[in-house]
């Protein structure tokens, strides 16, 4: 009781209270931490299902999925992350038009990524990889059919990521609109930083998805 009173009347601040800038940033970080758990749960479930199927029960992903295309998509997302940091750097130096250019390039990267993913899905579905089926596959002459869970796990995880990219593109367009109307300056730009956090996170998750779903 006595301790509580001392704390209430204490003059020195143990930790500075949240400013509008830091509150938005912390909020985004908290969202990203939660989102990490969503992807973590999906990937952990994938690991369990795949290991449970054993080596013969699971078609090697590289036999069905196109690694070169997705490596290019990975590279594209890395590039769009770089343009994102350049956009933030530009506005912190007070250069509004340069920031708009870089934000536009970031959005372009995201849109091309989504286009490539749609192209990939379209071809995979045409080749018979659906939510219930898997293309026939032969290992040294013997035709085998791997676990039917290949399709659902693949589409769930890459789809959930694609949804994040879609959300990111919309989010970036909103920020770009604000930027055009002159909302951001060298002293007021935390909203650009926050959208950047989200965008880099989407990139980071794709790095993990690329490794676990495509390469392993």
């Amino acid at each position: 009781m006595e301790e509580a009173t001392t704390l209430d009347h204490s003059e020195d601040v143990y930790e500075p209270s949240l400013t509008p800038d830091s509150m938005g940033k912390l909020g985004m970080w908290i969202f990203l931490i939660g989102d990490t758990m969503s992807f973590g749960a999906l990937l952990a479930a994938y690991a369990a299902i795949r290991a449970g199927a054993g080596v013969v029960g699971w078609v090697p992903p590289s036999d069905i999925l196109g690694i070169n295309l997705t490596a290019a998509m990975t590279f594209l997302l890395i590039c769009s992350s770089v343009t994102m940091v350049k956009a933030l750097e530009s506005i912190q130096k007070g250069n509004v038009s340069r920031m708009c250019d870089f934000l536009g390039l970031t959005i372009l990267g995201g849109v091309i990524f989504l286009g490539l993913q749609a192209y990939e899905w379209y071809h995979l579905i045409a080749h018979g990889l659906t939510l219930t089926g898997i293309p026939e596959h032969s290992i040294s002459g013997d035709v085998i059919s791997g676990s039917n869970l290949f399709g659902p796990t693949f589409y769930t995880i890459t789809g959930f990521h694609g949804l994040h990219v879609t959300g990111g593109v919309i989010y970036l367009i909103v920020i770009l609109r604000n930027a055009w109307s002159g909302r951001y300056t060298a002293d007021f730009n935390h909203e650009v930083e926050i959208v950047g956090l989200y965008w880099h996170f989407v990139d980071l998750i794709w790095i993990m998805v690329f490794t676990f779903i495509y390469l392993l």
């Binding site: 054993g54 490596a71 770089v82």
Partner: protein
């Protein structure tokens, strides 16, 4: 002042080169056939290195308070724990393969 500006904006181009090179190495490592475990260790290691580069430099985690880094690392550790929790499920399935597995399943269903 110049020093400050330099700290706030690390050499993004260098990080970009690193990420591109690591991606190329990943693809190169993934294609040939060899020990699955060794491949998994190398690929996960490379992915973690890339994730670190993105979080530390692009998301400026290196410039933030240490506490925030602790917050962010926590869910990753919990995810690793999640996989460990699922391990019994995985190993119990691996003990059976092919015919043995289907026989066990039949026995189990008749028991029920």
């Amino acid at each position: 002042m110049a020093q400050d500006g330099h700290d706030k904006h690390p050499r993004y181009f260098l990080i970009f080169i690193w990420l591109a090179v690591l991606t190329a190495v990943e693809v190169g490592v993934a294609i040939p056939e060899y020990s699955v475990v060794l491949k998994a260790i190398i690929l996960i290691g490379l992915a973690c290195a890339k994730a670190y580069l993105v979080a530390a430099y692009f998301m400026h985690l290196k410039l933030e308070k240490r506490t925030l880094a602790a917050f962010v690392i926590t869910p990753f550790l919990i995810c690793v724990f999640l996989v460990i929790m699922l391990l019994p499920d995985i190993t119990s399935d691996l003990r059976y393969d092919g015919l043995e597995k289907s026989q066990t399943e039949v026995v189990n269903t008749t028991d029920n």
